[in-house]
């Protein structure tokens, strides 16, 4: 059985590192450093290379999880990681409409890098500022996709929620004929 490489991407603070940490069965390779840009207004640290985690599913399938950095200056990491993924999760913080344009741009960038199936994961859906899923789909321009990717709420801090998201993605991969089992 092949190892599936799964990308976890999205703009700064969307929850990529938290997502990988919540589910990985190994100590996550952590490359977070103290943030000195505008990220610091949001949180203390930011990813400068990638997060790496691993998850073995009940089926025995092994997932390698690669969390990307979020800032555009790290796009060389996107270029390295994304073309190799079998599928990816695109995280969007639903409580930060000021980042939606950046999300849309990032999503288009990723689409250039890989044709692999994706899932849009909506984080911070528990926030009172959270936008509705339909509105986010619209601002991201998801209707322009040949096949519109599934959109689900995911709480990156909750391992159960993260697992659900990954299982849905693996189902997508199977559906799209990627040799999973």
């Amino acid at each position: 059985m092949e190892i599936l490489k799964i990308g976890i991407t999205g703009t700064v603070g969307a929850g990529k590192t938290t997502f990988v940490r919540s589910i990985s069965e190994i100590d996550v390779v952590n490359t977070d450093r103290v943030a000195s840009d505008e990220t610091a207004l949001m949180k203390a640290t930011t990813t400068v290379a990638f997060d790496f985690g691993r998850l073995t599913l009940n089926s025995g399938q092994i997932l390698h999880l690669y969390g990307t950095p979020g800032q555009f200056r790290f796009n060389f990491m996107w270029d390295i990681l994304m073309p190799k993924v079998h599928g990816y999760v695109f995280l969007v913080d639903t409580s930060r409409p000021q980042d939606f344009r950046a999300s849309r741009r990032l999503l288009n960038y990723m689409k250039q890098k890989t044709q692999s199936p994706l899932i849009v994961g909506l984080t911070h859906a528990d926030s009172h500022k959270a936008w509705k899923s339909e509105d986010i789909a619209l601002t991201l321009g998801l209707s322009n996709f040949v096949t519109k990717p599934p959109i689900i709420e995911v709480n990156a801090t909750n391992s159960h929620s993260v697992a659900q998201c990954l299982i849905l993605l693996v189902e997508q991969l199977i559906q799209q004929g990627i040799n999973v089992v």
Binding site: V29, R33, S36, D37, T39, V48, A49, Q71, R73, F76
Partner: protein
Amino acid sequence: MVQSSVLQDSLQRFVSSTPDIQGAALVSPDGLPISSILSSDMDEERTAAMSAAILSLGERIGQELARGLVERIFVEGEKGYSILVSCGTEAVLLVLAGKAAKQGLLFLETKRLVAEIKPLLH
């Protein structure tokens, strides 16, 4: 942090006084440019981000594969060398050198520069 012109002067002196050194950049650990002497075809922001990324991975290797504290990352290319060293918690130093550079001298001079810069950063 000190005036960036002081740092810029240090880097400038280092690059012009050390044989075969072609450039130097000081960047924050999260990959933002602080000060640099680079040829005009190198993008300062990309260079800064790449420097931070590779140092973070090198430090992970030192830690996870029990190599201890990482002194430097040394990338040897066909046309020259790139050296990355940590300047404490505040910065990362990148040094670019030509193939003719003597490694021992390169490391020594880099160390000296770090010692000069570190106190300026606090």
